[in-house]
């Protein structure tokens, strides 16, 4: 009997149109993040950020009188779980949109369901393949690994270096980054003279670096996450290799500097403006937003990371779009997300188009160097 009345109500709702009945209904945001497991350092700040800002918005009365309800599941980095949770979010929880997918693996696994059901999805994962080719319902807020590779190559070209050695781990982030570097290298006139690998839980990379030392490389690029890049950095110093070392945006956190210690001196990497917020010129439109997010997050949860910033960007882009289109009509909401223009987030200025579902350009990355244990923008 209950099911029938539900179905009846649904039919009635769709007949009467959304505007009428929705006024007091909460806006449901579905989220699936990797809060535990190996990628937890990404998902944990993301969830904290979402919860913090959803609470804030609700305290201010919600969006146009509607409260926001955040429904979250922890995937633990398991793509199979991500798919199940997304199905549950869409079918049982009946969410209006999805923000989540901490890792590229989780995100790519749920895309078929998202596209089939037709629900706006803002991903928080890095790889460029998420939005390339463009998928109708899928957007993303973090910088892509292709941008990181391009930013590193730009700097190498400026320094007149072209023979590079690459060392990467065995994770998804590492592999995707390596693929982008191999793909972009010819465009920037770079030649790869060494291509070495390590396991992400290895404790010593001096063997691979010894090979790199004798390869005649002019610079070393390391693409990785977690503690392994810090070990690579230390091992380079141990072996007395004096080549410039480039890391990826994956290590743009204070933990990396703490772990690598003195060896981190002079390491360059592309990073989101969030890590150098205080050093930006006052005229930079991003500065007040970065500082506001940083202060609010740090007051409650400790040191800020760029990853939480991606969740902030995703949530606020969604909120802006909901303000314009409401949450009831998913297609309209999708269109409004796609027409996001000049939105200033923590990752940069977003200008989405039907061809670009990320909307960031290379300026969004800052090239930073570690000097005396702190990040400095390289001019």
């Amino acid at each position: 009997m209950k099911r029938w009345s539900n179905a009846l109500a649904a039919v009635l709702l769709s007949l009467t149109g959304s505007g009428l009945a929705q006024a007091a209904d909460p806006i449901k945001i579905g989220s699936f993040l990797t809060v535990t497991g190996p990628a937890s350092f990404l998902g944990d700040p993301e969830l904290k950020t979402l919860q913090m800002y959803v609470d804030d918005l609700n305290a201010q009365g919600g969006i146009k009188g509607s409260k926001i309800e955040l429904i979250h599941y922890d995937t633990g980095g398991n793509a199979k779980d991500a798919v199940n949770f997304v199905k549950r979010l869409i079918k049982n929880d009946k969410v209006d949109l999805l923000i989540g997918g901490t890792t590229t693996g989780d995100t790519m696994a749920v895309i078929p369901d998202v596209e089939k059901e037709g629900i706006p999805f803002i991903s928080l994962a890095g790889a460029v393949e998420i939005v390339e080719p463009v998928k109708k319902w899928v957007f993303k807020t973090p910088h892509s690994d292709r941008m990181a590779a391009a930013k590193i190559f730009e700097d190498l070209r400026k320094r007149g270096l072209s023979e590079i050695a690459l060392i990467t781990g065995d994770g998804g982030f590492d592999k995707s980054g390596r693929a982008q570097i191999l793909k972009l290298a010819p465009d920037y006139g770079m030649t790869l003279v060494a291509d070495e690998f390590y396991g992400n839980k290895d404790t010593d990379m001096t063997t691979q670096l010894t090979k790199i030392r004798s390869s005649g490389a002019q610079a070393i690029i390391n693409f990785g996450l977690g503690q392994a890049p810090a070990i690579v950095t230390k091992n380079i110093k141990q072996l007395g290799i004096a080549l410039p070392l480039y890391q990826s945006h994956g290590v743009a956190s204070k933990t990396f500097i703490d772990l690598a210690g003195d060896a981190a001196e002079g390491v360059r990497l592309p990073a989101a403006a969030l890590v150098v917020a205080e050093q930006l010129p006052d005229a930079d439109p991003q500065k007040p937003i970065l500082l506001a997010y940083k202060n609010q997050y740090e007051a409650k949860h400790g040191p800020v990371s760029t990853f939480g910033g991606h969740a902030y960007d995703g949530l606020l882009i969604a909120v802006e779009a909901i303000k314009r289109a409401g949450a009831a009509d998913k297609a309209k909401l999708r269109d409004e997300i796609e027409s996001t223009k000049g939105f200033i987030g923590t990752a940069g200025v977003f200008n989405m188009t039907p061809q670009d579902h990320m909307g960031l350009n290379l300026d969004a990355f800052k090239l930073v160097e570690i000097r005396k244990g702190a990040w400095k923008i390289v001019e």
Binding site: P38, F197, D204, Q227, T255
Partner: protein, 291 residues
């Protein structure tokens, strides 16, 4: 080329000594009860994490290391008393499964206490690499090598020269007979867990400056240490060292001379070959089953 191979060997020995040090911890409990303690890696992690926490709480490094080791011994004793002892009489396999559960539990506690971040200890005697011919080695690696040597000698002497060690061995050979000649099997088991937790913690503290530590660092270290122990012959402390060094050198040579993409495959292939041709390990006791 020669210089390169020399560096590979030096790397292999330093990494291998790390595996050996962890592998050593498996011997004590195995010798007392035929059980492979899969929480051994967690003892290593606990030692390192506790030392890091105590150091940042203001204790000097030597004191932090001692207190962390004692803490780990305490955890080992508690584990034996509240998880292993209630299951006395259970099969070896059941006990091994209990240790896996304990490992997950300890990881969870560490996660709650210290979060998900990686932490590190300062190296005991500086960061300046030492040159050996064309190769370089960190002073901390020498600490690990030296400690491995000392601990192996101690463990060996414990089993061969002391009555306590022999009593412990007797428990694994035949529990009933050991009891019959007046050995308190319960106390022996508790001793084994306490000692191997302490051994693990010392290993953890020594290697933390090189490998860093986090709540799940014990998983990988436990696995590599276990591989070292079974290659050498589990229960034989010398075997664990030989196994660890062999594994480390093979990994380094495999990565250096063949391909770093197949480094682990080469090492594991070696482990499989050893188990295939010498199921008790290279230096294990030959077991004669009497029908």
């Amino acid at each position: 080329m020669f210089e390169q191979v020399f560096q590979f060997l030096v790397t292999g020995i330093t990494v291998g000594s790390l595996y050996a040090l962890v592998g050593l911890g498996f011997a004590l409990i195995y010798n007392a009860s035929d059980v492979v303690n899969f929480a051994q890696g967690e003892f290593v992690m606990l030692g390192a994490m506790a030392a890091i926490a105590l150091l940042s709480a203001g204790l000097p490094l030597p004191l932090a290391a001692v207190v962390a080791t004692l803490l780990a011994v305490g955890v080992g004793l508690l584990l034996e008393r509240f998880a292993i002892e209630p299951a006395a009489g259970a099969s070896v396999v059941a006990t091994i499964i209990i240790t896996i559960g304990a490992a997950i539990f300890l990881r969870g506690i560490a996660l709650l206490l210290w979060g998900k971040d990686f932490h590190t200890l300062p190296p005991f005697s500086g960061d300046a690499p030492i040159r050996l011919g064309g190769a370089t080695v960190l002073p901390q690696s020498l600490w690990v090598l030296a400690a491995t040597g000392v601990l192996v000698a101690l463990v060996r002497a414990f089993f061969d020269r002391t009555l306590l060690g022999k009593a412990l061995l007797a428990c694994s050979f035949n529990r009933t007979a050991a009891q019959a000649v007046g050995i308190n099997v319960k106390v022996m088991l508790r001793l084994a867990y306490g000692l191997s937790a302490g051994l693990g913690a010392v290993a953890g503290i020594l290697i933390a400056p090189i490998t860093f530590s986090s709540y799940e660092a014990g998983v990988m270290l436990g696995l590599k240490g276990f591989s070292a122990a079974i290659v050498g012959g589990i229960g034989n402390p010398m075997g664990a060292v030989a196994g660890g060094l062999l594994l480390g050198v093979l990994e380094a040579l495999g990565a250096g001379l063949v391909s770093s993409g197949y480094k682990d495959a080469i090492a594991f292939l070696f482990v499989l070959m050893v188990l295939f041709f010498e199921p008790t390990g290279l230096f294990g006791h030959k077991v004669a089953e009497r029908v």
